[in-house]
């Protein structure tokens, strides 16, 4: 006769196991974009549960100076969805600090998705592409997200106790929003005046870039990209979406590389954790 306690324990173990299995997402060695009717904008959306999970191991950028000499973020969880015309990635990584306030020596959290411009068997170099082989990069930043979420874009929003006596382009004699006022304001923001998209004003937390090797990153053709990042107890969960790579058919493979920057660790630019190429396959609707 079986011991009643041992039966109960076995049942409990079975239930726990079954429960655990239900919560454990399916993991794939490649990133699989699963079809959905509509790309979810938020990382918490239940639609993400339909996609398998990929655990992306991250490496320090060690090809060009300045290099990241101390590894930081070890890995990233990735899921992907597609609606047939767009592709979205949800990137999740552990981060103890929400770094979304830029300033002198204050770097911000960020992540990026890189895909070869062309679908080909031999992809470009994974670190920013190579001459003649362009990569497309969609880049998300935590401070841009804060602005899109409603934080003001003034020095007082970054430094509440900042003392400001006067901006010449906000003199009473100038009508706010008038061409003369705008022209003068632009003169005091040379990066904006020159059309540097980095310089804002910002309507989206992402930007589209292209590169043909290290140090060649520049604004690229619009990919209709969008993004949304949410900081939680475990770190960041960020959705980056963009147009499907041109010419990518259902079940055809291309590649994707990922990068992450932790602002609190002074990571910016070339100081980043990154992956090599990860196979990416887009599934069609059944």
């Amino acid at each position: 006769m079986k011991h009643p306690l041992s039966t109960a324990a076995a049942l409990a173990a079975l239930l726990l196991s079954a429960n655990s299995c239900a919560r454990q997402p399916r993991r794939t060695p490649e990133i699989v974009a699963v079809p959905v009717a509509a790309i979810p904008a938020f990382p918490e959306d239940r639609a993400w549960n339909s996609a398998p999970e990929h655990l992306a191991k991250l490496l320090p950028q060690d090809l060009v100076e300045p290099r990241l000499m101390t590894p930081s973020t070890p890995e990233m969880l990735v899921r992907s969805l597609t609606d047939g015309s767009r592709i979205a990635f949800r990137l999740e990584w552990p981060d103890a600090d929400q770094s979304d306030t830029p300033g002198p020596s204050r770097m911000v959290d960020a992540c990026a998705v890189q895909i070869p411009e062309k679908i080909e068997k031999n992809p470009p170099d994974p670190q920013m592409g190579q001459s003649g082989k362009t990569v497309q990069v969609t880049y998300w930043r935590a401070d841009w997200q804060a602005i899109v979420n409603g934080r003001g874009d003034t020095i007082r929003d970054l430094y509440p106790n900042a003392s400001i006596d006067h901006y010449p382009f906000e003199a009473k004699a100038l009508e706010p929003g008038s061409p003369a006022q705008k022209e003068m304001a632009e003169r005091y923001a040379p990066a904006r005046a020159l059309g540097n998209l980095r310089a804002g004003p910002r309507a989206a937390p992402v930007e589209d870039l292209v590169a043909t090797g290290p140090a060649t990153l520049m604004p690229g053709p619009p990919l209709a990209s969008a993004g949304k990042g949410v900081f939680g107890k475990k770190g960041w969960s960020v959705v980056i979406s963009r147009r499907l790579p041109e010419g990518l058919a259902v079940n055809q493979r291309t590649h994707v590389a990922l990068a992450v920057w932790q602002g609190a660790l002074q990571e910016a630019g070339a100081r980043k954790m990154r992956t090599g190429w990860i196979p990416l396959v887009v599934r069609g609707a059944k």
Binding site: D62, V64, E65, P66, R67, L68, M69, P102, G103, P104, S105, R106, M107, D153, T154, I155, L158, A162, I164, H166, Y167, P168, F169, A185, Y188, A189, P190, A191, R192, A193, L194, G195, N196, R198, A199, G200, P214, A215, L217, M218, Q266, A268, G269, A270
Partner: protein, 375 residues
Amino acid sequence: MARVFNWQLGREMSYWYPESRPRRQFAAVFDINKCIACQTCTLACKTTWTSGKGQEYMLWNNVETKPYGSYPLAYDLKLLDLLGAQQWNGNRYEGKTIFESAPAGERVLGVRPEANDYAYPNTGEDDCAGQVDHGAFLSLPHANWFFYLARICNHCTYPACLASCPRGSIYKRAEDGIVLVDQSRCRGYQECVKGCPYKKVFYNPLTGTSEKCIACFPKIEQGIQPQCFVNCIGKIRLAGWVSSPKHARADNPIDYLVHVKKVALPLFPQFGLEPNVYYIPPIHAAASFNRQVFGPGAAEAVKTYRNAGNDPDLAGLLCLFGSTEALVARFQRQGNVIVGSDEKGAAVVRVPMNEPVHVRPAFDAKNQLVRINCP
């Protein structure tokens, strides 16, 4: 890294890019002994260039008080500490520059200031003694002296900001050697902020790009000295062009002060950037401090400056400081008058070495009255 020649070190050194000197190099001489830290230069620059949003904390020109003052806080001490003790052998630098001592994975040896380090631009720096109560006395670790150090970008021959930028967003103009950040290309990684030992590149948090002193290049292009020069009420500054030693001309004011008389010296030459703002060192500061800040020629420069009264060419040239808005490319002493000329030889200013002095006696004998000097 490439091998380049740095005449301020008396030797070749390693640099990120090959040697490529501009057709002519913007340069300046600041006479520290005449600076009173009125900050008129700071305000002239501030109101001209950095009144925009995100530029609130930026001082492309600042005046700090040595030995204790600095902006940003301890920018020089932190780097000197990191570089460690180094040696000069006569006029040859035997130590390592910030390029040669770059740690693995870095382009230069640099220090990144904290945001709060920018919070104290000459706040209380020139109080060389605290309040001394009755009967008490003050004991300091050094003799009781200080001086004012006015600083702009040095528009270095081997800029560390330029070497630090992984994107090549910083460039040195071939026509005048002015170092600029390409505002259309910069992505705000702040590597230049970390790399510049003089901390003269500033990050603008609202445009996401780094910005720096532009030597008022629109004025330079018209043959006019920058704002911080022409607004200096102490007349401590002279802008012009500096040559490398073998091309030095005795009739070029900057060359004369730097190469001929060797009375004007670079700031922290040991860092290896070949900076192009030169200082006549303070005559009352400790010689050891001057040597650390201005290099091995400091003591001799002080001696030469002290003797300027017996050296009419030098004394005359010092009279040209602050005497004209125009850039002075050549100078000549004609008796008691110093003539400054442009590059074509056309005179732009004539300055008497001794102003005529008239003394009006306090007692007016003709009118039998005593004059008073108030209305």
